[in-house]
């Protein structure tokens, strides 16, 4: 019988490959990836392909799109090139989105992990704090933080992270609560593994997939929050962000709708790409839910 038991099943393709296969099965997710790639490309090539400084006067104010090829998508009220704004705005939006997401997930993971792993009073205290953050209307908190810190882009990013960490924290906590009773955790503990290693090496990698999926939601929300701030005139005017462009474009919405609509559509498509990516990731990471 020895022979039979050493017979291993045929080796599987590497994890990344299987993930990709599952992901690629979902056409909407591919579209999301494509859009996302486009935005990243725009962000990377801003200033190369589109050499104009997005804050400089590039032409007559309120030039309509496709009328002057020096400014293909037209200009806004101060004569700034909308195409350049679109490219540079991609950079800002992505930067805000990615950094705020990383930060908020960082905080969320830390709080959620400690809370879920240790339970007891640690959990009590951390959860009270989380509840407190959840009880204050997030946008009001965001406004307060921006009022305190000022509207520079770093602080806006930080403020967005501060108002968005609770959901990942709860998520990580729930995952930890269910994972910490899994036998493999007991097994590691029984080997004498320290708590820190248990948290970060054993449990966390297993708790991350839903959080990674949720990252797309935070990313989308960050961009929406930034644009809402800009809409209220609290954006950072030193950078061309899509939110700023909409915020300023709305005053000419009735006559020169493209000033707000072009960045508006850019936001919509970017957020859409995050959502589609997120759903694709979800399908890929939780094969249980997928159907072909």
């Amino acid at each position: 019988m020895t022979a039979a038991t050493t017979d291993l099943p045929r080796a599987e393709a590497p994890r990344a490959v299987t993930l990709w296969r599952r992901f690629a099965r979902n056409r909407a997710a591919l579209l999301g990836l494509f859009l996302f790639g486009l935005v990243v490309l725009m962000a990377l090539t801003a200033g190369l392909v589109e050499p104009v400084d997005p804050l400089r006067r590039a032409g007559d104010p309120l030039t309509r799109p496709f009328t002057d090829w020096a400014v293909p998508l037209g200009t806004d009220q101060l004569g700034r090139d909308i195409l350049a704004g679109l490219f540079h705005g991609a950079r800002i939006s992505l930067l805000v989105g990615v950094l705020a997401t990383l930060l908020s997930i960082g905080i969320g993971v830390l709080v959620g992990a400690l809370s879920g792993f240790f339970g007891g009073w640690v959990d009590d205290v951390l959860m009270r704090v989380t509840e407190a953050f959840q009880t204050i209307p997030n946008f009001v908190l965001l406004l307060s933080l921006v009022a305190i810190l000022g509207s520079s882009i770093e602080y806006i990013t930080l403020a967005i992270a501060i108002v968005s960490w609770t959901a990942p924290a709860r998520m990580v906590r729930a995952e930890f609560m269910s994972l910490r009773h899994r036998e493999f955790v007991d097994a590691a503990r029984n080997l004498g593994v320290s708590n820190a290693s248990l948290i970060f090496r054993e449990i966390l990698p297993n708790a991350l997939p839903p959080v990674i999926v949720y990252a797309s939601v935070i990313m989308a929300l960050s961009i929406l929050l930034e644009s809402a701030l800009a809409f209220l005139g609290l954006g950072d005017p030193n950078f061309a962000s899509w939110g700023n462009m909409i915020g300023q474009g709305r005053s000419v919405l009735r006559t020169d709708w493209y000033c707000a609509a072009i960045p508006g559509i850019a936001i919509l498509l970017t957020v859409l790409s995050f959502s589609l990516l997120g759903e694709g990731l979800n399908d890929a990471l939780n094969p249980r839910q997928k159907k072909t």
């Binding site: 050493t6 036998e183 493999f184 097994a187 080997l191 004498g192 593994v193």
Partner: protein, 545 residues
């Protein structure tokens, strides 16, 4: 009635691309007559549940679908019926009982409502008549207080009662065919026996045909008229129960039957002189609700009550008992994965429960654990060699050495060293359990605590793992604390057993003595409930590979 109730001919079920085999079922012929119990036996994945699904026409279509054959029910081909007629047949003429009584009932509806639903769907009875019928059915399946259970939610009644409710539900329209898919697997032995008896009794009364799906030859011996054996979707043997059980023809059947642990305990070995490696004294654990003032009232559970035992070097001590008797709690206290309320656990002469966290980590190398669920106990994101080497690395071994040793250990547990760089999900259940054992051995412990290490495995695999454990124990002079609910397993491996009920030891002793002459009524009841205890598997050793 002439002819069989159910007649399956050449049934083939196709699996989606990328599955381990193209057909889950490759040409099954099977018939069930009225008043007959036909057992469909086979190991996990052999296609038993899909057969049931095909009959009910509830396969997860389209990716799993019937690719050929016919399913004749009372002479009509079910596969050709329109969905509307099929709906009328389901629940009325053909009923099904499922394995997990908890999840098979809707948690949000009362038991009465759920049984009533069958009547509502298939009869024109008025409310009063239906209620009367439901109560009658509940009574029929020997539910003590039908009126109160009628209004209860599934989570408010015990597992055995839930399964009775399922049975009541399936039988209340006197179906011609009942498909029972492992209806007792999730139950305690004592409950299992009661349910088996109930099914027998009702079947005789109603004269229905029963297709009984199980992986347990003990259950087959208990209940079957005829047996069909499936292996990897192929029907390998069929015939009257007595014939298949006592004179199996096909090598696969023979292998299966050989693997069943006999109810004959090994010869007692003497450990009087051997040193005690593990001593538990006065262990008590009460689960109290957390939250104090704001937590509200919940009942407290005394999971372990003043429990003491000794384990000698090289000895295997079995802990047996029904679900909830506190077995797992004991194993977790002993390894200090759970803090006991009171008591002491001496390992190597030192009290584990009094250790500081630092000392504890040092002590852990002496007492290791093998877990029940081979999948859940391996970190899915780590490679096998890292899983095995983790313990030694934590305790200071150089990583390269530890990994090399991990590969040696894989060989020791009869796995190819090629396994070292794979992930746990790429292995079968038995192989995973071997990895778990290797991980425990890597620490070179004195004591191994094993909590139901084989109960998630098929019999043939179970036999291999048990044999491996016994081998290692003897070779490495290990002491085993072996927790199991399966008395057959306990009988095969353990030198001594303690029998637990509600957290207390009701009886303990040398296995052979205890099995031969149980004193405590609870032990007697346990022993009497072992399925197929009247049947001794034939001695086929000569043919075994």
């Amino acid at each position: 009635m002439t002819g069989p109730v159910l007649d399956i001919r050449g049934l083939r079920i196709a699996l989606p691309k990328g599955a381990d085999r193209p057909f889950a079922l490759a040409g099954l012929d099977l018939s069930v007559n009225a008043g007959e119990i036909v057992c469909l036996v086979g190991e996990s994945g052999s296609g038993k549940s899909l057969t049931a699904g095909a009959i009910m026409r509830l396969l997860p279509e389209p990716h799993v679908h019937v690719a050929g054959g016919a399913i004749l029910f009372e002479g009509r081909d079910l596969l050709a019926l329109p969905e509307r007629e099929m709906k009328a047949i389901r629940g009325d003429r053909i009923a099904q009982i499922f394995q997990e009584p908890m999840t098979a009932l809707n948690p949000q509806k009362t038991v009465g409502w759920q049984i009533d639903e069958v009547l509502r769907l298939h009869t024109r009875m008025d409310r009063k008549a239906r209620r009367a019928r439901v109560l009658e059915m509940l009574d029929l399946v020997h539910i003590p207080d039908p009126t109160s259970v009628h209004g209860a939610y599934p989570h408010q009644i015990s597992g055995g009662q839930r399964q009775r409710v399922m049975i009541a539900m399936s039988l209340c329209l006197s179906p011609r065919l009942v498909i029972a898919d492992e209806p007792t697997t999730a139950l305690d032995v004592t409950t299992q026996l009661q349910i088996l008896k109930l099914i027998r009794e009702l079947q005789q009364k109603e004269d229905a045909g029963i297709l009984f799906i199980t992986h347990d030859f003990g259950v087959v011996a208990e209940i079957a008229d005829r047996v069909v054996v499936l292996s990897q979707g192929e029907m390998v043997e069929h015939g009257p129960a007595a014939e298949v059980l006592n004179a199996p023809q096909h090598p696969y059947t023979r292998a299966l039957i050989t693997a069943i642990p006999a109810l004959i305990p090994p010869k007692p070995r003497n450990f009087q002189g051997a040193p005690v490696v593990l001593r538990a004294q006065g262990l008590t654990k009460t689960f109290a609700p957390r939250g104090g003032l704001l937590g509200g009232k919940r009942r407290t559970v005394k999971a372990v009550d003043n429990l003491s035992f000794d384990l000698h070097r090289g000895e295997t001590l079995g802990v047996v008992g029904e679900s909830g008797s506190g077995k797992t709690t004991v194993s977790r206290i002993v390894t200090r994965l759970l803090e006991a309320d009171t008591g002491a656990v001496e390992v190597n002469g030192k009290d584990l429960l009094a250790c500081s966290p630092r000392e504890l980590r040092e002590m852990r190398r002496h007492i290791q654990m093998v877990f029940q669920d081979p999948m859940a106990s391996l970190n899915p994101r780590k490679r096998v060699q890292d899983i095995i080497a983790q313990g030694p690395i934590v305790h200071g071994t150089d990583p390269a050495t530890a990994r090399a040793r991990a590969r040696d250990l894989l060989e020791l547990v009869e796995l190819s060293p090629a396994a070292a760089t794979r992930f746990p999900h790429e292995f079968s259940g038995g192989q995973r359990q071997r990895i778990g054992i290797a991980r425990a051995l890597a620490m070179e412990p004195k004591v191994i605590v094993a909590d139901e290490p084989v109960s998630a495995l098929d019999v043939s695999v179970q036999a291999q793992v048990l044999k491996l454990l016994a081998d290692l124990r003897d070779r490495l002079h290990l002491s085993l604390l072996f927790v199991t609910h399966d008395l057959r397993v306990a009988a095969q491996l353990c030198d001594r057993v303690i029998v637990m009920q509600k957290g207390e030891i009701v009886e303990s002793g040398v296995t052979a003595d205890l099995f031969a002459d149980p004193r405590h009524p609870y032990t007697q009841q346990l022993l009497a409930s072992i399925p197929g205890r009247g049947w001794t598997p034939p001695d086929l050793k000569t043919d075994a590979a």
